[in-house]
């Protein structure tokens, strides 16, 4: 195991070391000590390695991740896993705003709560939040799935395109063009698989969830509005 102590080396040195790894590296297990909430930890990784952050992380932790598994053993700041392409990001504590923003792929698991705008503009990532999500989550979500075991705040899925939102608890309100939708077998299967991937096999039942998605009324220009121009 490679250990990097951020009390002794800088974040830039850490990220440079991680970026220099070849895809077939044998140094596949990294542990980062004393993160101290620093920003941009383990960003832009592109190798099948595991990086454990031993504490709280600042902004954009594991942003742009490809292939790697990044575990934050505390809370994560704004934009954790932002624009990730693949791999897995696991936050053991809470995540701040815009978790998984614009992410194209991979899996983001948050053991605690995520605050406002979780999954904003998500483009294919799967996000599992074991706690609750704040207001405006999945705003303009385009693809992928957001699973919330707790509650969702105001305006869930506002202006959503095609992502699938599964919420077990209460939804404070739905955003524009977001509606509750039927849970079909394909959705139950997807949800079951995501819960299993998040390590929740056997702990919660898919029947307890409701699905939300796009009413698709904002997709096309409405001719009745033509006079406005």
């Amino acid at each position: 195991m490679q250990v990097v102590d951020l009390d002794r080396s800088t974040r830039r040195e850490l990220n440079a070391e991680l970026h220099a790894l070849k895809k077939d590296t044998n140094e596949t297990h990294w542990r980062v000590l004393n993160p101290g909430g620093q920003h941009a930890l383990a960003v832009g990784l592109d190798a099948p390695i595991t990086v454990e952050i031993a504490g709280h992380a600042g902004y954009y932790c594991a942003g742009m991740n490809r292939q790697a598994t990044v575990v934050v053993e505390g809370n994560a700041g704004v934009g954790v896993g932002e624009n990730m392409m693949s791999g897995k990001v696991h936050v053991r504590g809470d995540a701040s705003q815009s978790a998984g923003a614009t992410a194209h792929g991979g899996l983001l698991v948050i053991d605690g709560n995520a605050s406002a705008r979780c999954g904003i503009s998500m483009k294919g990532v799967n996000i599992v939040v074991k706690g609750s999500v704040g207001p405006m989550s999945a705003f303009m979500a385009q693809a992928g799935a957001l699973v919330v075991l707790g509650d969702a705040g105001d305006a869930l899925g506002d202006s959503i395109y095609e992502a699938r939102l599964y919420v077990r608890g209460a939804v404070k309100s739905l955003g524009a063009d977001c509606i509750e939708k039927e849970m079909r077998d394909e959705h139950r299967a997807e949800l079951r698989a995501l819960l299993d991937q998040a390590g929740l096999n056997g702990e919660c039942r898919v029947e307890e969830f409701r699905r939300y998605g796009s009413a698709r009324t904002l997709y096309n220009f409405h001719v009745d509005n033509a006079a406005a121009y």
Partner: protein, 295 residues
Amino acid sequence: MCGIVGLFLKDRTLEPKLGSLLAGMLEVMTDRGPDSAGFAVYGDGAAAQVKFTIRCADAGGVAEALGTALGVDVSTTIHDTHAVLTLGAEHEAAARAWFRAERPDVAVNGAGRRIELYKEVGLPADVSQRFGLESMAGSHGIGHTRMATESAVTTAGAHPFSTGMDQCLVHNGSLSNHASLRRMLVKQGMTFETDNDSEVAAGYLSWKMRGGATLAEALEAGLADLDGFYTFVVGTENGFAVVRDPISCKPAVMAETDEYVAFASEYRALAGLPGVERARVFEPEPARVYAWERH
């Protein structure tokens, strides 16, 4: 962008360390606000006395002239460009009138039984050092690092702002209805020293509390009346509160232990606090007032 920090101690044995803990937090927030900094510390106070924190060229001379004019004893502690003048609480109004009439060059940062309030242009670490924050003791303190975006880099524009006895506010954000609110508050008898939007927020809360509201009630009312982006940290003689606008535009993170409640714009500023690894670290929710009081 700006950085704000706050520390409210529950454990009295930590009080001698308040200044050094706050100084550490403030310095980490330099990245968010390198052009000026300020802080308020709630330290010792005597019931029958009032402390004025003033800034001017010859604080010693001001204290002596004030004492002579009012015929009272004024004790003075000089901290670089600032001074703390302590006198009998019954002379507060007379002292304010004297400053206005005789020494308009004197800026009163704040006044109260316990508050001392310092602000200056420069890097936060330099500002802390000039005023000796490191060695200050107290029950709670609030700090701000400023990156001016819409008004000049001046001492007067630095936070915290104090518009009532023992009250102060720091703000990250910007208000859009501060001009109309200021007109309303001026009609209600409030006075303002600057054109700064954050001073209007402070004045609004002082006005509410003057009308009998608690700190938490004043902030609840502010959620309806203040329009714009804000994370506020507010101090009163015994209280400490945090509120964010309804869309949580500006960052905030808190850590609570049995010993303290701490606030910062980013977790980095909390990372050096004693026992923070055992703290409950959480993000304050939008449009929710968090308030603590010590008796």
